[in-house]
Symmetry: C2
Subunit: 152 residues, 2 copies
């Protein structure tokens, strides 16, 4: 089934999902953030059919989320590397990881969680913070149309 | 095509995506956080086929993300209301919204952004913060297997 495109949608959530809302794309990005660079490594780690992986990687290259580079060891392999735009998705993955950890696991169950490399401790829980520093609850925020001033 | 289930996956990102990784589910949650409660309102807002909307809503009720309640105005309508587990997805939506705003819009283009209800100002950018308060970059975090201590 062809998805309805949300490319021109004015909601930033919808427009983001149009690009990275695919289930596999986010897991590929997760693996890339973890240091995986080669097609065969993504395939092995995700247990994904070659054609699906190939389509998802191409889509992310087209969207500027990844670039293709020559292998860092001088071999003939090509490597898929996250751009700054791709790396900037880390907070999305971190929020998903924290939510999953709280709501999708039983106490005592083993799970992968995000750790600070330096001290191997979990990160602080992501909070929504107002411009003037107040912690906000879901009820305290609203989606509203605005002119987007700077595209970064 | 039946998706491979990641229900028992040890990665919290994968397990979360298995439940809410569907493109439409996150947009339904976005609308619910914005105050929409009735089937017809979701349908009108999302432009979604009834059978797809119905399946997604049922899935989220089954997962404990939404509950079905009698209409707040005493009419015969049923209303779909986010549980605490569902509301706890706000940081995921906020992270997607902020990423989209920075990377998927041209300067000057209109877009929906998350605002603080109180002062109508955008939220602070979500950051990854270590347990001891340092702002972390994508390179500073790692996914690692751990016993999940509390399911909340």
């Amino acid at each position: 089934m062809k998805r309805k495109s949300l490319e021109g949608n004015t909601c930033a959530v919808a427009r983001s999902l149009d690009v990275i809302g695919d289930w596999w794309s986010l897991l590929i990005i997760r693996d890339a953030l973890g240091g995986i660079r080669r097609f065969s490594e993504f395939q092995r780690n995700l247990g994904l059919a070659k054609n699906i992986l190939s389509t998802r990687l191409k889509g992310m290259v087209d969207q500027g989320i990844m670039t293709v580079e020559a292998a860092s060891d001088g071999s003939a392999y090509r490597e898929y590397v996250l751009t700054e735009k791709g790396k900037a998705l880390m907070p999305v993955l971190a929020a998903l990881s924290q939510w999953g950890r709280e709501h999708m696991f039983e106490p005592g169950e083993m799970g992968s969680v995000l750790l600070d490399v330096k001290n191997r401790r979990p990160l602080r829980k992501i909070e929504l913070i107002s411009e003037d520093g107040r912690a906000l609850q879901p009820e305290d925020v609203v989606l509203s149309a605005r002119v987007i001033h700077a595209a970064k």
